[in-house]
């Protein structure tokens, strides 16, 4: 689309932000932290991580941050992820599958409704990124 109009420049900016927003130090609406200890990795955390990444990309979101951390301590229930909506207590999800990720993303991150069926509990540890 060479030779931009002003509208096209703004559109290009919006598009470009969809992949560069992760470099910014601002506030995010939601943070997803996939636990990637040896236990998590063995249980398939990498697939879970990529499933979350695809959900963000599919929707073109620039306000949801995906990070990783080590083992969360409950190795038998991996893969696990902690989801924290800004201003709310973090929620830990356990025994994740790609299918569950889809549902959690839609309901919790987009809809604000905790998927209690997959949740371990609310509260406790926070991500180290604030």
């Amino acid at each position: 689309m060479p030779k931009l109009t002003i509208e096209e420049l703004e559109k290009l900016r919006e598009e470009a932000r969809k992949t560069t927003f992760i470099r910014e130090q601002g506030q995010f609406r939601a943070k997803i932290n996939v636990h990637m200890g040896t236990c998590g990795l063995a249980a398939g955390a990498r697939h879970i991580l990529n499933a979350f990444l695809q959900e963000i990309e599919k929707r073109g979101l620039t306000d949801v941050l995906l990070t990783t951390s080590g083992c969360a301590g409950l190795c038998s229930r991996e893969p696990m992820a902690t989801i924290e909506i800004a201003g709310q207590a973090p929620v830990k999800y356990i025994d994740l599958t790609e299918k569950k990720v889809e549902e959690i993303f839609e309901k919790h991150i987009q809809g604000g409704e905790i998927v209690t069926a997959y949740a371990l509990g609310i509260g406790s540890e926070k991500t180290d990124l604030s």
Partner: protein, 608 residues
């Protein structure tokens, strides 16, 4: 140049690819990272991005992991497999590759927590480390060309000039002329065929200065956008970027940036469909220092010999090919988009009464944290040297700092609490210049420093006017004489007289400022000149012909057991003695090369 749709990655590894890190093998680090990421099957999650200069050059090669702002430093190719496995595969940042401040026990993981970065305020360098300078989309994502849209659609030329005027922005190239006023003069100037030109001065030549280079390398679009806005304000359709050919990376990146801007129609005809036309050409300078002077620079662009001419007429009236021309420095242009975007008032809220905004400095010499910093005007020298610069290496004492390059002067340690702005530096006998800061410790001889800078300007003097050509030569002869112990007391008066004449009578800024290093060292370190002249001694032991080397027989015998290393290394057989006994120097044969001093492991060789 088709644009592919970018994929979303969870991690961006921002590898610094400024000239400093590149010469420390940053591209090899990048290759190693990409190879290891692929080997670990992470290529769909992790992307390596090369950025411009991060600023903390001392600690290169550097890399910042985003999100998280985790700062890694002094990387080697060997570290990469471990780093990728730990941080990217398992999510555990690697402490041993983080920056650990001297005298502290734990490393600082996050960039913004490191002292070097804490006090900096980034305006001109707002995108450093956050964008790939070879990708216009990265610049656009960080509000790039937003100010241009505002200037083209919502502002008249007068309103643009007004905004720049109230911002208080002054020329960042050295003289500090108010930018808004300059633009107004060029706008008002009458051109017979309505043609006016715009020039970006990137002919950075001061020893130890690399502000302009870093901006062109790290964020070329900020300069292009600034020039576009300036073009609308003064009514120009053609601009020039004059950059040294010794800056290959800067030249490469600015050429890529211009191509990309043209591709999107941000340069050329009918920009963004607004009917505004402007384009930019790159002119490469051959490295003559005098071409940084505006009239010499214009002559060079026109293809003539790079020599200055008398002013007036100023370029604002008669510049390139006799047409009104607006010349601003790289850093000045890079500030413009922010001023238009955030408003002149915002910019003016930073800084001091007469010097607004921020200033980029390159800190080099005897300093722990060599690098590029941007700080608010009015910051004290102490904050720059100690808080940001991390002090002097090896526990040595801070002696002076040369600001403004060879045209500036040295500021002594007594003035460490001096708030830095245009006026305070001029009052101290120096000048802001383009922002080079050469830090000197107690081992520096101030007479030798003055001689060095004068030899630089004498060498670079174009020879067109007599005061500069002959005067700097005469001053250099005297200084050389003093450092060789052949100075007389009349020499100091003669130096001052010559300095006054050269300042008064030279044609251009090069000559007018050349005596500054001598005048400031005479003002603050006169006793060192006197020591050289009267006592025939160099207090810092730098001027070798004034040194006398002696061997302490007791140390040589007791500690070194007459190791004989000095004798074997002496080029003139001036050292007497054999293995196992104390050695001695025959002063009639000694040429004072200092090799014995350097090779002695026991500190037995003394300098007087």
């Amino acid at each position: 140049m088709a644009v592919e749709k970018e994929k979303l990655y969870r991690v961006h590894l921002m590898v610094c690819a400024g000239t400093g890190c590149v010469s420390n093998h940053a591209f090899e680090i990048k290759e190693a990272l990409e190879k290891e990421i692929k080997r670990r099957g992470l290529e769909k999650e992790v992307k390596v991005v090369t950025t411009g200069c991060n600023g903390f050059c001392e600690r290169g090669p550097l890399m910042v992991v985003q999100p998280g702002n985790i700062f890694y430093q002094m990387l080697t190719v060997k570290d990469i497999p471990y780093l990728v496995e730990e941080h990217l595969l398992k999510g555990r940042p690697v402490k041993k590759l983080m920056y650990q401040p001297p005298e502290e026990k734990t490393p600082v993981p996050v960039l913004s927590e490191i002292n070097f970065f804490k006090k900096q305020v980034l305006v001109a360098l707002r995108n450093r480390g956050l964008i790939d300078p070879e990708k216009i989309e990265d610049y656009i994502a960080r509000d790039g060309y937003k100010a241009l849209v505002k200037a083209l659609t919502q502002m008249t030329p007068e309103e643009i000039i007004h905004e720049v005027t109230i911002s208080g922005l002054r020329g960042r190239g050295g003289a500090g002329f108010p930018t808004g006023l300059k633009w107004q003069l060029v706008r008002n100037a009458i051109s017979p065929d309505n043609e006016k030109y715009l020039v970006c001065n990137g002919d950075e030549g001061d020893p130890g200065a690399f502000m302009d280079r870093s901006i062109l390398e790290a964020d070329p679009h900020s300069v292009i956008e600034g020039m576009l806005i300036g073009a609308k304000a003064i009514g120009a359709t053609q601009g020039f970027i004059y950059v040294r050919n010794e800056y290959p990376l800067a030249v490469k990146r600015i050429l890529i940036a211009l191509d990309q801007a043209r591709y999107y129609g941000l340069l050329g005809h009918d920009i963004l469909g607004t009917g505004f036309d402007f384009d930019i050409r790159v002119v490469r300078g051959a490295g003559a220092f005098v071409c940084g002077e505006e009239t010499a620079l214009l002559a060079s662009i026109e293809g003539r010999l790079g020599e200055p001419r008398p002013r007036p007429p100023y370029p604002a009236e008669k510049g390139l090919w006799g047409k009104p021309t607006c010349i601003n420095n790289v850093e000045t242009w890079a500030n413009i988009p922010v001023i238009i975007d955030r408003g002149g008032k915002w910019f003016a809220s930073i800084g001091t009464a007469t010097s607004k905004g921020t200033k980029v400095f390159s800190i080099v010499g005897k300093i722990n944290n060599t690098g590029l910093v941007e700080v608010p005007m009015g910051i004290t020298l102490r904050e720059i040297i100690y808080d940001i610069g991390g002090g002097i290496p090896g526990g040595k004492k801070f002696k002076a700092v040369q600001t403004g390059g060879p045209s500036g002067g040295c500021i002594p340690a007594e003035l460490i609490n001096l708030p830095i702005d245009y006026e305070s530096l001029t009052a101290a006998g120096s000048m802001m210049g383009s922002g080079g800061m050469v830090v000197m410790d107690e081992d520096t001889c101030m007479v030798d420093v003055a001689r060095y800078f004068l030899s630089f300007t004498q060498d670079e003097s174009c020879g067109k006017c007599t005061p500069c050509r002959e005067g700097t030569k005469a001053m250099l002869d005297i200084l050389t004489r003093i450092t060789e112990g052949k100075g007389t007391e009349e020499d100091l008066g003669l130096l001052e007289e010559l300095a006054d004449t050269i300042k008064e009578a030279s044609l251009c800024g090069l000559g007018k400022t050349a005596p500054n290093p001598v005048l400031t060292t005479l003002r603050y370190f006169r006793d060192e000149y006197i020591a050289h002249i009267q006592d025939k001694k160099c207090p810092a032991h730098v001027c070798r012909s004034l040194n006398v080397y002696k061997i302490d027989p007791q140390i040589c015998f007791e500690k070194g057991h007459g190791c004989d290393v000095c004798r074997r290394n002496c080029a003139t057989d001036a050292i007497i003695g054999s293995k196992g006994e104390a050695h001695k120097i025959d002063q009639t044969k000694c040429i004072k090369c200092g090799v014995c001093f350097d090779v002695c492991h026991f500190g037995a060789v003394k300098v007087e």
